[in-house]
């Protein structure tokens, strides 16, 4: 089936697009819309909004090279505004019940799913393959994680509902091992609590096995005050506000959507090696409405033909990071406890 899908895909797409022709009059319509857009832009620039004015002041002051003190004061003020708006937006996203989907990809840095296998004390670790790609969905008390081996192959998929009581938190859910073609249900798995706010630690750490509530984690990181706004950068089609962290290791950059003030991307850069080469990890945020179909993304879907096995533990909320640290082996031995992620 695998071969069939890949073999048929080019023909399928070809059939879908066969006979497609550029519609007549397209050039005229495009030029007309662009003329109308320019008229709207000129009008908007004159009236402006508070956010546009604030951000424009930031850019203009930096460009004009005003006195360092004045520029710094303005920059600090507008950065505070951005951070305040971002925190409110994150709180609002949580209140609105948005699903938060984060796609991770690493260059040098990699993720592995702390998943089925050996359980020792607080949490279970076991998956040893480096996963340069991963995806997390979080929604209220629900969490789903996918991890991809360095071959790009889906390695692991796990979903859980986290419940908290006076005795701590537990996870209940399902997990799939694509390598073994097995799946299981499990519950009462001790898990670490949601990421606490720790301003001493610095800013937003990558998911390290304890992050359940990403919006809360980002909000807490912003509240620590370690970020400063440094202008704009285009992320896709969004002219995002760029924030950098004062924390030296890892160097962090966070991009905020200037319309919604929700984060759209985060970037970590670690430099544990001599020389200029760095290990990096990028997380791209997507904020989804809690439609029935999107909520379905929070559950694993067991492929046909997979065998149900006895419970083998659930993935620890969040993902753990492994970097190419010359002091440590790149991949922990299978079946052993993974090393604690590089500290930051």
């Amino acid at each position: 089936m695998t071969d069939d899908i890949e073999r048929l895909l080019p023909d399928s797409i070809g059939k879908l697009t066969a006979g497609g022709t550029a519609p007549p009059g397209l050039a005229g319509r495009v030029l007309a819309r662009e003329r109308r857009r320019r008229i709207r832009m000129r009008t908007a620039m004159v009236s402006g909004t508070a956010a546009v004015v604030v951000v424009a002041v930031l850019a203009a002051t930096a460009a004009a090279g005003g006195t360092a003190r004045t520029a710094g004061a303005v920059r600090a003020q507008t950065a505070a505004y951005v951070l305040h708006r971002a925190q409110n937006a994150l709180a609002g996203a949580r209140q609105a019940g948005l699903i938060q989907q984060t796609q991770f990809s690493g260059d040098g840095a990699a993720l592995f799913i702390a998943g089925p296998g050996h359980c020792d004390g607080e949490y279970c670790l076991g998956i040893a393959d480096l996963a340069p790609g991963g995806e997390i969905w979080t929604y209220r008390d629900r969490l789903r994680e996918e991890g991809f081996a360095n071959t790009g192959k889906l390695e692991f998929d796990s979903s859980a509902t986290i419940t908290s009581s006076g005795k701590g938190s537990t996870a209940t859910g399902e997990a799939i091992s694509y390598q073994n073609r097995t799946w299981w249900r499990d519950s009462s798995q001790p898990v670490r609590p949601a990421y606490p706010s720790n301003c001493k630690q610095g800013d937003l750490p990558p998911p390290d096995g304890s992050t359940v509530d990403w919006p809360a984690a980002v909000k807490a990181a912003l509240a620590c005050g370690g970020y400063r706004a440094v202008g704009h950068q285009r992320i896709g089609r969004v002219n995002a506000i760029k924030l950098v962290s004062a924390h030296p290791q890892p160097a962090q950059t966070l991009w905020i959507n200037p319309s919604s003030y929700l984060p759209i991307r985060v970037f970590w850069s670690y430099n544990y090696r001599t020389g200029p080469e760095k290990d990096t990890m990028t997380g791209t945020f997507h904020w989804l409405q809690p439609t029935a179909a999107n909520l379905a993304s929070l559950s694993v879907h067991v492929p046909a033909g997979f065998r149900q096995t006895r419970p083998q533990g659930l993935a620890v909320p969040g993902l753990a990071l492994i970097f190419r640290n010359p002091a440590q082996p790149a991949v922990p031995a299978r079946g052993s406890h993974a090393t604690t992620p590089a500290t930051h």
């Binding site: 895909l9 797409i13 497609g20 050039a27 030029l31 662009e34 340069p132 002219n239 492929p303």
Partner: protein
């Protein structure tokens, strides 16, 4: 907030744009259909990309088609149109079960046709990667370069996309399995 090319730079006249579309419009339209999932959406996507081309014409007029293609891919991958219809996920088809109403209509059609429709149900980035890799025949590195992302991201998106296609089309009759 700066806008790309707002109020600045030379814009193409109608003849220049029509010449581009005469020469390459059909293939660009087919790419847009593949990326967007339907003819109507493809037309809207192509129009959105052309509008951006018009704004950047002065900077890219030496290779407008190249810029237009890259814009198509990135708009599609970025989910340029955040409407509910592409955010909705089709209920996954499991073995022995029939799909939802939308897919029932094509249940009698072969896997090849089902694949084309199932592709439209993928998240935008996955769909874009699969179109670039399997229809345009781009390498992983080329695809990563066009989309401005690491190769690992392309790899994982392709893997996820193919896995989802398998799930969506699991109930259709497949060709005889290979060894």
């Amino acid at each position: 907030m700066a806008d790309e090319g707002a109020g600045a730079g030379r814009r193409p006249d109608r003849h220049e744009l029509e010449r581009l579309l005469d020469e390459r419009g059909n293939h660009l339209m087919q790419a847009a259909i593949a990326l967007a999932g339907s003819r109507q959406e493809g037309e809207d996507l192509l129009q959105a990309a052309l509008e951006r081309l018009v704004r950047r014409w002065r900077q890219v007029e030496s290779d407008p088609e190249g810029y237009l293609r890259r814009t198509l891919y990135n708009l599609a991958a970025d989910g340029w149109r955040r409407r509910a219809n592409w955010l909705r996920r089709v209920p996954l088809v499991q073995a022995g079960q029939r799909a939802g109403p939308g897919l029932d209509a094509v249940a009698a059609v072969g896997l090849r046709d089902a694949l084309g429709r199932a592709l439209a149900e993928l998240p935008p980035f996955q769909r874009t990667v699969l179109v670039l890799r399997y229809w345009e025949g781009r390498s992983q590195a080329e695809t990563a370069g066009l989309l401005g992302c690491p190769e690992g991201t392309v790899k994982s998106a392709a893997s996820r996309g193919l896995a989802r296609l398998r799930e969506l089309t699991a109930s259709w009759t497949a060709l005889p399995a290979r060894n």
